[in-house]
């Protein structure tokens, strides 16, 4: 955790530097009272201050037991998380190409069958039910047009 705090502190410092620089370029004051750069500038200053406190306390703190352990999980869990997130990114990219129905069915099948290693009959059942259920709620009941593919579904 100590190492993580140090890294976050540096990232936050960089971010606040960027914010202050950007805010500085905005019109500093309107005709009446403070302008659009006012709040971002002071928020940036505040963030710098907090990042410095974070860095200083992390630096001075004695390493505890919690510090020696990484806050992030082992390799296997990390692979599962990456798979879920990667799948989500692919899902978002493909939803306008494949259409909602096919894309959602494939994503649920991927999540259950490959990431969670459920049995295939169950996986396909849940995938069909989820896709159909959401279609019913959003498209039929709420009247929202979900993305469709070139074949129209």
């Amino acid at each position: 955790m100590k190492k993580a705090d140090l890294i976050t502190g540096i990232v936050l410092l960089a971010l606040s530097g960027y914010v202050i620089q950007e805010a500085w370029r905005m019109p500093p004051s309107g005709t009446f009272g403070p302008g659009s750069g006012f709040l971002p500038f002071w928020v940036g200053v505040l963030l710098t201050l907090l990042a410095v406190i974070l860095l200083a306390t992390a630096w001075r703190r004695q390493a505890t037991e919690k510090d020696s352990k990484s806050p992030f999980p082992g390799k296997r869990a990390l692979i599962a998380i990456t798979a879920v997130l990667g799948g989500l990114a692919v899902y978002i990219v493909l939803i306008e190409v494949l259409g909602y129905l096919v894309d959602t069915f494939l994503y649920v099948t991927f999540l259950m069958g490959i990431v969670e290693r459920e049995k295939w009959p169950r996986t396909l059942g849940v995938a069909v039910l989820t896709t159909a259920g959401l279609y019913l709620i959003f498209q039929v009941l709420l009247g929202i047009t979900l993305p469709s593919n070139t074949f129209g579904f």
Binding site: V19, S36, I53, I92, M112
Partner: protein, 503 residues
């Protein structure tokens, strides 16, 4: 009297078939969310926003409020039967509730949890009925400096009271303020932090951010700690659920103390149901004639926290409705939903939309009755639901979130916002940064900025304006005190240990 007229109006609104139906749907989903570990009330409300989008505002918020207090009921079931708290606010219930179940008294424990929730929940709604209009009347006279001081106080209280590290809470809040700055500045028309992306001109979508921070990141955290299948063989029939006379006698004090304490804590911004249940349990233990028995299965150890967390859920509606200041992550998400529906919570809401305010309040009376019915005879069904494995829930939660976020604006970009904040929320949870202040800051950000700039325009740039006006001065001082509260707490505990060492 005016108030009876208003309540009557409220019941008229709340008892339309549509509102009754969705009140029921809300408390049903709330109970479900409360029972299932790994999905919290904030996530539930966030996922629900897109689905309630097509409804009128009153029905939508009635549903969401139902989820909020419904989750407080459901959370106790798994705490008692399985020693697994469904929500953080029912952690304290596990201490005595699970011990009661092990001694074969699961029935009275569950019954007392449901009835304590009902009694305290109804008490909180009653208090809300009388307190909220008075507070709203008072707040009508607020000008920009008061509003700035108020929102500022809301932000600092949430960040400094919630979470283990006040510093990390503050960082989370400040980052939320930055996110709120993205988009075209409403006062001057300047585009800020948009990275030349057209989609960002309107600012970062609230729903995408809330769903990402709560729902998506919760899923990611749960994937890495696989939950084992849990079963209980406890046989429950309806009559075994009723606590006996001795139980009522034992719990009487806990019930009213828990209700009052829970309500007061719920009203305070920043301290929600979780803190209320912790404090109610601690107070009961202190007041008890046999504190050593706490933790071995005494019924007042169930009644106090269960009452308190429900009263707090009702109390949290007071600042939300009268001042537009949410006190917790869940109410922050609800405030965002209100804004999307075109309602501006604040003192004027009571005079401009009495049908909405009183309809919501009346629905909470009705919802509390529905919950007792749902939770007492049907408890067996809820227990069986626990057998649904997470591998089935997980794909459902992700796809509902993603499609819902898309549906609010028919915009793929909102899904990317959800993706981004899902990853950010996961990292934040892992590094102990609470996500609630960030969402709160995003919702309150525009109001903070507008009232700040208006005040400074009035005062020609002098910040003295926040301290010289009596109300805003008081609020600003409380805000500053709460900022430095962590420091004072450290000094206080040092002084105490010092004293102990001397004696």
């Amino acid at each position: 009297m005016d108030i009876f007229h208003n309540i009557f109006l409220g019941f008229q609104v709340a008892s339309s078939w549509e509102n009754l139906l969705f009140c029921f749907v809300g408390v049903l989903i709330g109970t479900l969310i409360g029972v299932l570990p790994g999905i919290g009330p904030t996530t539930g409300v966030a996922i629900l926003i897109p689905i309630t989008f097509g409804m009128n505002a009153t029905t939508a918020i009635i549903t969401m409020a139902g989820v909020y207090y419904g989750a407080m009921y459901g959370g106790s079931t798994t705490s008692i039967l399985l020693n697994v708290p469904g929500e953080s606010s029912s952690v304290m219930t596990t201490l005595d509730g699970y011990q009661m179940a092990r001694k074969g008294r699961a029935g009275p424990a569950l019954g007392m949890a449901a009835l304590a929730s009902f009694i305290a929940g109804t008490f909180a709604v009653l208090m809300l009925t009388f307190l909220a209009p008075a507070l709203a009347d008072y707040a009508v006279s607020f000008g920009p400096p008061e509003y700035f001081a108020l929102t500022f106080m809301g932000l600092t209280l949430v960040t400094s009271l919630g979470g283990d590290s006040p510093l990390k809470g503050l960082i989370s809040g400040v980052l939320g303020l930055l996110v709120a700055c993205v988009g075209i500045d409403a006062q001057s028309g300047v585009a800020r932090f948009t990275f030349d992306n057209m989609n960002l001109l309107d600012g970062v979508g609230f729903i995408g951010m809330a769903v990402g921070l709560f729902a998506a990141s919760e899923v990611l955290v749960n994937i890495e700690e696989p939950m084992q299948q849990i079963f209980t063989e406890a046989k429950l029939n309806f009559l075994s659920l009723f606590p006996n006379l001795q139980d009522w006698k034992d719990s009487f004090g806990a019930l009213w103390r828990g209700s009052i304490l829970g309500f007061v804590i719920g009203v305070l911004p920043g301290a929600g149901a979780t803190i209320a249940s912790f404090m109610a349990y601690a107070v009961e233990k202190k007041m008890s004639k046999h504190p050593e028995k706490f933790g071995t299965g005494v019924i007042e150890g169930v009644a106090a926290p269960e009452g308190a967390n429900n009263a707090a859920a009702g109390g949290a509606m007071v600042p939300l409705l009268t001042l537009g200041i949410p006190g917790s992550g869940t109410t922050a998400v609800m405030l965002g939903a209100l804004l999307i529906h075109g309602l501006r919570p604040g003192p004027l809401l009571f005079s401009t939309r009495p049908d909405f305010v009183w309809g919501l309040i009346a629905s909470m009376y009705i919802g509390n009755v529905m919950l007792v019915i749902l939770n007492m005879p049907l408890i067996g069904i809820w227990v069986r639901l626990l057998k649904v494995p997470y591998s089935v829930l997980m794909p459902m939660i992700i796809t509902i979130s993603a499609v819902g976020v898309f549906a609010t604006d028919n915009n793929i970009f909102d899904m990317w916002i959800m993706f981004f904040f899902g990853v950010l929320g996961y990292i934040m949870r892992k590094l102990d940064y609470p996500p609630a202040p960030m969402v709160l800051a995003l919702v309150l950000g525009p109001m903070v900025e507008m009232s700040l700039r208006q005040s400074l325009t009035i005062s020609h740039g002098s910040i003295a304006i926040f301290f010289t006006r009596p109300i805003s001065g008081t609020l600003a001082v409380i805000a500053l005190l709460s900022l430095f509260a962590p420091l004072l707490r450290i000094l206080w505990s040092r002084a105490r240990t010092g004293k102990r060492a001397v004696s």
